[in-house]
Symmetry: C2
Subunit: 431 residues, 2 copies
């Protein structure tokens, strides 16, 4: 195969006809495959089944400080749960609040608190004439949905290989006091798999912000989600808390993490870490919203994962399941599209996604073709604020959920759809 | 003993001296007793221990529609969980959203949605120049804390024996469009143990409201929490949903309930029921805030409680534990204070509290005396908005948590403190 761009029009037409025949074959098979969401597969869920049997009697229900975890109370989490979640958050247990089963809810609520009550004495953001937010792209659709729901104006900033374009981030933060924050998935980012470099972390921590209550929402969703066991093949992330403290901006960040992709997505434990002042303020509002989260589930997690070493050992079992899937995606893309020269994609060392860029103005077409052939992808545009990718090129590939054989089939369909869309475009341009 | 009010001053002084001697004896014993919060006692928690062993293997984790409940998803609850919670909510499963472990959080979030987004097309309440709220008193301190946190002006309205003073409620709702809602604990109310009469429910449903988006927050926390097994000794509550529909105001109510005091307070399941339109609107916002609540805990509850009959049978076990405690409180109050004529108290047929009224301007003194003798009561004033009881007379007694022997001792201390405060006051008035 030669590069599509170098093919004469007749060869493009022949190639398109061939791909359309392949595509018709896929359609005829009535497939129902899904690469849309970053959901663990059933084998991964099985890894944590022993956890469910660890808290079944009254004697199992007491925390190390003697609290009967069945009853009401303990707003910010059991001591041992704070310790466990501090491992995920790379922070001190004293700086941790343990939440329920969703870090997304913890982030939504944290942002709602900024809007309703302000931060450490600043005016409630809802009283500002406008609030703006920096959104590295491609990014996580559910983050963008939160800021959109609250009427916050989102400003996309390009992701580089070491994190967001910091020249642009610094310019935006310094120039406009209405720019109140930034979404970050700093490690194995969703969807690019990018880990922020030390320099990017330090620049985020130290940059000048026109808004004195600027907040970095640091969603470290993939903190321990490596695909490889060797440390040399794992990304390392500088701690934003330390960087912010060193830069003299100790209250600038809110860190989030959860066990959703460590133990059980629907029944995990989420947590936040922040400066003592931010934690105290959050607790002063949380005490109105709730009495305490599910402490029995906190106990289950502590008994099952124990500590940082326990988490790492457990994550190696996940990696063993996921590594071949990511290798399969890389192989299928390389084999199918390597020579055509119409696309690029990421090769992450962790996380849950591969970020794919087809030719400009083809992503929606590719996703529609795939859906018609029974393969559901994340919607085109989803990785951009307001669901609008101005290039219409980015597609998030989520290879974790389907079993290997289904993933292989889905990737064959996807590659075929990419070729069809690219060929259609080249032919249209040539005509 | 004669009525205190009829005693000559010398007898009052003798009686006070005697009570002070008794009180000194209590203090010397270094008691640490708690009648402050409506927490189930450990025997009650033990009743639900079998529930924790019902979901321990992968095979246990599937819902009736085949959903793997370990993974992400199912925003509004499993079908069987909606059915179960519909029993508590006296509503149709289709009108139910199942939440996490806290109905308090569900109410906080529901009110936050009204403030941020309005209701069924109305303007966001936070854009109004002021929002006011009707608060039947005595009432639940955590309700009042929510409205206070959001800067909502709370207007106390007296509770009668059949619910809030409806003449006053109707006047407030009709006269001011800024009056947007009312807190209701309509059955075995906190703290009075009052169940709203059919007439009160119908008047709430049909009253004229200046605010077209007026909302009744119907916290049916004690829906099945009877103290007696015989139907004739159980209160019945007219369904607010049916009453609102019949009155042509189908969107006026939001019903809340939870299993916190059915199974495990820290690890229960909460739910809301409302009109299809209200439910659809709530879901449209919830989908931004979360992916789904803990479905494994929903499954545990369904497998354990099964249905309305299962709930009733389980609640009879709670009643057997609680009935003697409420009887003890009634006996101690009657024996200790019946003839003194300085106080009145409720005799609820369900719920978690006894509402106590001492002489005006003595509640804070009584609670302080009790605390000094090692008995923690709910703070005086807590049953009123802003923690300010203008009569300084109401005290909430929460008899459920202490074991029987501790409760007996705590009530002896309490009765002694009431007498001291009442005698001090009468002597001061006489002098």
């Amino acid at each position: 195969m030669t590069r599509f761009a170098e093919m004469p029009i007749d060869q493009l037409r022949d190639e398109l006809a061939a791909q359309q025949e392949t595509y018709a074959g896929f359609k005829a098979r009535g497939l129902a495959l899904n690469m849309a969401r970053g959901k663990p597969t059933s084998d991964q869920l099985d890894l944590s089944m022993p956890m469910l049997g660890l808290v079944t009697s009254a004697a199992d229900c007491f925390s190390e400080d003697g609290t009967d975890c069945r009853n009401y109370g303990v707003l910010d989490g059991l001591p041992e749960a704070k310790r466990l979640m501090a491992c995920l958050l790379d922070d001190e247990p004293a700086n941790v609040i343990v939440f329920g089963n969703s870090s997304l809810t913890a982030m939504y609520d944290a942002l709602a608190r900024c809007l309703d009550f302000g931060c450490l004495g600043s005016a409630p953001w809802c009283a500002c004439d406008a609030v703006k937010w920096i959104c590295p792209v491609p990014g996580y659709d559910r983050h963008f949905a939160i800021t959109q729901a609250f009427g916050i104006e989102m400003i996309p900033v390009e992701m580089n290989e070491d994190g967001p374009d910091m020249d642009e981030v610094e310019r935006l933060a310094a120039s406009d006091a209405r720019v109140k924050g930034i979404w970050c998935v700093p490690k194995y980012s969703n969807p690019g798999g990018v880990t922020y470099s030390d320099e990017v972390v330090r620049r985020l921590a130290s940059m000048e912000c026109a808004a004195e209550d600027f907040r970095i929402f640091w969603d470290n969703a993939y903190a321990v989600h490596h695909l490889h066991d060797e440390a040399s093949e794992q990304d390392q992330l500088l701690d934003i808390a330390r960087a912010c403290a060193e830069a003299g901006n100790p209250h600038r960040y809110l860190k989030f993490a959860s066990t959703s992709k460590v133990t059980i997505p629907g029944a995990g434990v989420a947590a936040m870490a922040a400066s003592p002042e931010n934690i105290a303020e959050a607790k002063s509002h949380l005490t109105v919203q709730m009495i305490g989260h599910d402490k029995l589930n906190q106990l289950r997690h502590v008994k099952f994962l124990r500590d940082g070493d326990g988490i790492a050992a457990h994550m190696a079992l996940h990696a063993a399941i996921l590594r071949p899937k990511f290798a399969l995606v890389a192989r299928k893309l390389e084999e199918g599209l390597g020579e055509a020269g119409v696309a690029r994609w990421t090769s992450p060392r962790g996380g849950y996604f591969v970020s794919f860029d087809g030719p400009e103005h083809t992503a929606a077409r590719i996703v529609a073709l795939a859906r018609e052939a029974g393969v559901v992808m994340t919607g085109a545009g989803a990785t951009w604020p307001y669901g609008r990718d101005p290039h219409d090129s980015n597609i998030r590939i989520a290879p974790t959920l389907p079993p290997a054989e289904e993933l292989e089939e889905a990737m064959d369909v996807f590659v075929c759809c990419v070729k069809i869309a690219a060929l259609e475009q080249l032919i249209a341009q040539a005509e």
